[in-house]
C-alpha cells in the first residue's frame, strides 16, 4: 500500500501586501447595464447567476444604462449626492474631532457612502434597519439631526444614549435604526425576528439586516439565513463586502465560496451582487429586494461590492497590512465622484454647483458641531451624570442597584 504524503494546511493570502503594486486588471467587472433584471416574482432557482456577477448602472462615461436604471428622479439623484457628500464631510470633521481628543473613537465610511444612503431611500417610514457600525448613511439620508449624532459621539449631556455607548453606536427607533451592538453579526438574525414579528402581526413593514464580509463567518449569519429561509421573512439581508475585516482580507471569511452572495443560494434565497460604489445600482437593487419583501415573497440577500478606502476605525492603521495604492487602483471608483459625473452628464449639475454644495455642507456640519460642542465633548466635563449609568438596566431599578448607586455617591 502507498504511504500517504503528509497533509498541509492551506491559509489564504491576499494578492498584495505593503510594497506590492495592486493590479485589478485580472478581476472581471461586468460592463454597466449588462446584467439582467428578473421580475421580483421569479423563482430563486432561476436567478442563481445574479450571485456571481455585479449589477451596475453607471458606466465609465457617467451614463445610466441597462434594465436596472431609472428608479430615481433628477431631484432624488441630486439629494442622493448631497447625502453622500454630507456623510463624507461629517466623517472628516468627526475624525478630526477624535484626533483633537474630543472623543475616544470614530469610524468613517470613506468609499462606502452610497450603500447606506441609497438603501435608506428604498425603505418606507416604519421599516426597521439592524445596522452595523458603518451605516450612518441610513440616519443621514433620513434627516436625523446631525447635532444628535455628534452629541452621541461626544457622549455629552445631550447624548440621547446618555454616554453609555461607544461613539457612533447610534440608536433611533423613530428613524428605523436599531441600537448598534458592537458585537458582530448578532443583529443580522434579530432583523429576521423583527421581520417575522411584522408578518405575525399582519403588518406591512419590513426589516433590513446589515453585516460585513468578515462577520458572515459568525454563526448568527447562518442562523439568520436559515430562519429567513424557513419562515420566508420579509427582510432584506445586506452584506457590505468592503474587502477588509480590520487587517484580514475577505478571502479568510469567504473561503472556497466564489462570492458572499453565493452563501444565500443553499438557503434558496435570491442572492444578488451589486456595485456598492454605484448609487443608482444600490438603490435599484434595494428597491427590488424591498418590493419582494413587501409583497410577501420572502427574503433577499444582497452583497455590495465596495472598498474600505479608510482605516477600519481610528484605532487602525491600514498601511501595516495593505498597499496604500490599493484604494486608488480599486476598479469601482469613488461613489461620490461617479454620481457627480452622472449628474453633470445629465446636465443637471456642474463643477461650480458641486463646489458650492461642498461649501454649504461644510457650513452645515460646522454649525452642528459648534452646537454640539457648546453642550460638551467627552473631555470637556459635560458628560451625563454617573447617576445615569444605573438607569435603564431594568425597567424599574431593583434594590441592589439603588444601593450601588448610593454607594457610588449618587
Amino acid at each position: 500500500m502507498d504511504t500517504p504524503s503528509p497533509l498541509t494546511l492551506f491559509v489564504p493570502e491576499p494578492e498584495w501586501r505593503p510594497g506590492d503594486m495592486p493590479d485589478f486588471s485580472q478581476v472581471t467587472i461586468p460592463r454597466a447595464g449588462t446584467v439582467r433584471r428578473p421580475d421580483v416574482t421569479e423563482a430563486p432557482e432561476n436567478m442563481r447567476d445574479l450571485a456571481f456577477t455585479i449589477i451596475r448602472i453607471l458606466n465609465r462615461e457617467g451614463e445610466a444604462v441597462g434594465p436596472w436604471a431609472g428608479t430615481l428622479s433628477d431631484e432624488e439623484l441630486k439629494e442622493g449626492l448631497r447625502h453622500m457628500m454630507l456623510l463624507r464631510t461629517f466623517d472628516a470633521r468627526m475624525l478630526t474631532a477624535q484626533r483633537q481628543g474630543k472623543t475616544s473613537f470614530y469610524m468613517q465610511h470613506l468609499g462606502e457612502e452610497a450603500i447606506s444612503t441609497a438603501f435608506r431611500r428604498a425603505l418606507r417610514p416604519g421599516d426597521m434597519n439592524f445596522p452595523t457600525y458603518r451605516q450612518a448613511g441610513l440616519l443621514i439620508a433620513d434627516d436625523y439631526p446631525l447635532v444628535e449624532m455628534m452629541n452621541q459621539i461626544f457622549s455629552n449631556d445631550g447624548d440621547p444614549l446618555r454616554g453609555r455607548q461607544l461613539p457612533i453606536m447610534y440608536s433611533s427607533k423613530a428613524h428605523g435604526f436599531f441600537s448598534i451592538s458592537g458585537n458582530l453579526g448578532t443583529q443580522f438574525v434579530q432583523a429576521v425576528g423583527w421581520a417575522m414579528a411584522s408578518a405575525i402581526s399582519r403588518d406591512t413593514k419590513i426589516a433590513a439586516g446589515w453585516i460585513g464580509d468578515g462577520s458572515t463567518a459568525e454563526s448568527d449569519f447562518h442562523a439568520a439565513l436559515v430562519f429567513a429561509s424557513t419562515y420566508k421573512a420579509p427582510v432584506v439581508l445586506n452584506i457590505v463586502n468592503n474587502q477588509w475585516a480590520i487587517s484580514t482580507f475577505q478571502g479568510i471569511a469567504r473561503g472556497g465560496s466564489g462570492t458572499f452572495a453565493a452563501r444565500g443560494l443553499g438557503f434558496g434565497i435570491p442572492s444578488l451582487r451589486v456595485d456598492g460604489n454605484d448609487y443608482l445600482a444600490v438603490h435599484a437593487v434595494a428597491k427590488w429586494a424591498v418590493e419582494r419583501a413587501r409583497r410577501n415573497l420572502g427574503p433577499t440577500l444582497i452583497e455590495y461590492v465596495t472598498y474600505r478606502a479608510g482605516s477600519h476605525s481610528t484605532s487602525d492603521d491600514p498601511s501595516a497590512y495593505r498597499p496604500k495604492e490599493e484604494g486608488d487602483a480599486w476598479p469601482l471608483g469613488d461613489p461620490v465622484l461617479r454620481l457627480k459625473t452622472h449628474l453633470i452628464k445629465k446636465g443637471i449639475w456642474s463643477d461650480e454647483r458641486h463646489a458650492q454644495a461642498e461649501a454649504e455642507i461644510l457650513d452645515e456640519v460646522t454649525a452642528a458641531q459648534d452646537e454640539a460642542e457648546a453642550i460638551g465633548t467627552l473631555t470637556s466635563g459635560h458628560a451625563p451624570s454617573p447617576r445615569d449609568m444605573f438607569e435603564d438596566v431594568y425597567a424599574e431599578m431593583p434594590p441592589h442597584l439603588i444601593r450601588q448607586r448610593q454607594e457610588a455617591g449618587y
Binding site: M128, T186, Q190, S201, Y394
Partner: protein, 332 residues
Amino acid sequence: MIEAIRSAHDNAMERDERVVVFGEDVGYFGGVFRCTAGLQKKYGKQRCFDTPISESGIVGTAIGMAAYGLRPCVEIQFADYMYPGYDQIVSEAARIRHRSAGDFTCPIVIRMPTGGGIFGGQTHSQSPEALFTHVSGLKTIVPSNPYDAKGLLIAAIECPDPVIFLEPKRLYNGPFDGHHERPIQSWKAHPLGEVPDDHYTVPLGKAAIRREGTDVTILAYGTMVHVAEAAVEETGISCEIIDLRTLVPVDLETIAGSVKKTGRCVIVHEATRTSGFGAELSAMVQEECFFHLEAPIERVTGWDTPYPHAQEWDYFPGPARLGQALRRVMEA
C-alpha cells in the same frame, strides 16, 4: 408542574395576542417535556411554532420580535443547549434597554429545563443559573413547585425585562427530595401542587419562607427546596427554609431577616460550587449579618466536576450531605 407551565402559556396567550411561543419541537408536538402541548392547535401556527435547531437563532429572532413589540416566550430544550444562544442573551437581550436608553426594550422570556436527577449525564443535567445571575440586565427565576411555576411564568411574560426561567426538570412530574431510592411522588398530594386554571401571578423578586425555624436558615431554590425539607425532617434541627424563587433581583430583605434571627446559614444548590450563586449568597449574608452569625456559612453544592452519569447520586447534593452541614453549623 408541566401542566402549570402549559397553563401559564395558555393564560398569557389568551390575554395578550403579542405573546408568541416557539422553540425546538415546541409547536406541533408540544415540546419534549410537553410544556407547550396544545398551544399550536389552540392559537395557530403563527403564534406557536417549531424552529430550526439553532439557539442563537431562537434567542436572536425573539429579540428582534420584542424590539418590534411582541412578547416572545421561547424554549431552549435543555439549559445545557443554551450556550450557542448565550451571546444573544448576554450581549444583546440584557443590554438593549440600557444601551439604547430605553429607545428599544427586550421583554422576552427564555425558558429552559435545568438540573439533574434524571440520569441525563453532562449534557442534560447542568444548572447554569450563575451564568445568568452574573449578567446585569437579566432577571433569573427558578420555581420549586407548580403553583409558583405558573404564577412566576405569567409574571415573567408580563415583565418588561428579559427573564431567564429555569425549570428544574426533576420537578416536572413531582416533588423530589433527593431520595432517589424511594418511590416517585406525584404533585397531587403536595399543597403547592394544585394550580388554579385562571390567570394569577407570583411576584418576581420575592422569596417564600417554606418552613419557619429558629436555629439555621437554609437558602435554597428549585429541587433543593425539597431536599432541604427532607434534611430538616431527618436531622430534627429547627430550620427556616427560604425558597428564593427569584435569584436576581434577590430578596435580600427576607434572607437577612431570617439569618439575623437564626444566626446560622447553609446554602444549597445543585450547580458547581466555584463562582456558583451560593458564593454570592454567602457574600451577601456575610455583609448583612456578620455580627449575628454564630457559625461559618456553609455551602452544599454539586462538585466542581462535569455532571456525571453513573455517579449521579454521588454528585447530587442530597439530604444526607445537607444534613451533615446542618449538624456542623449547630456544633460550631
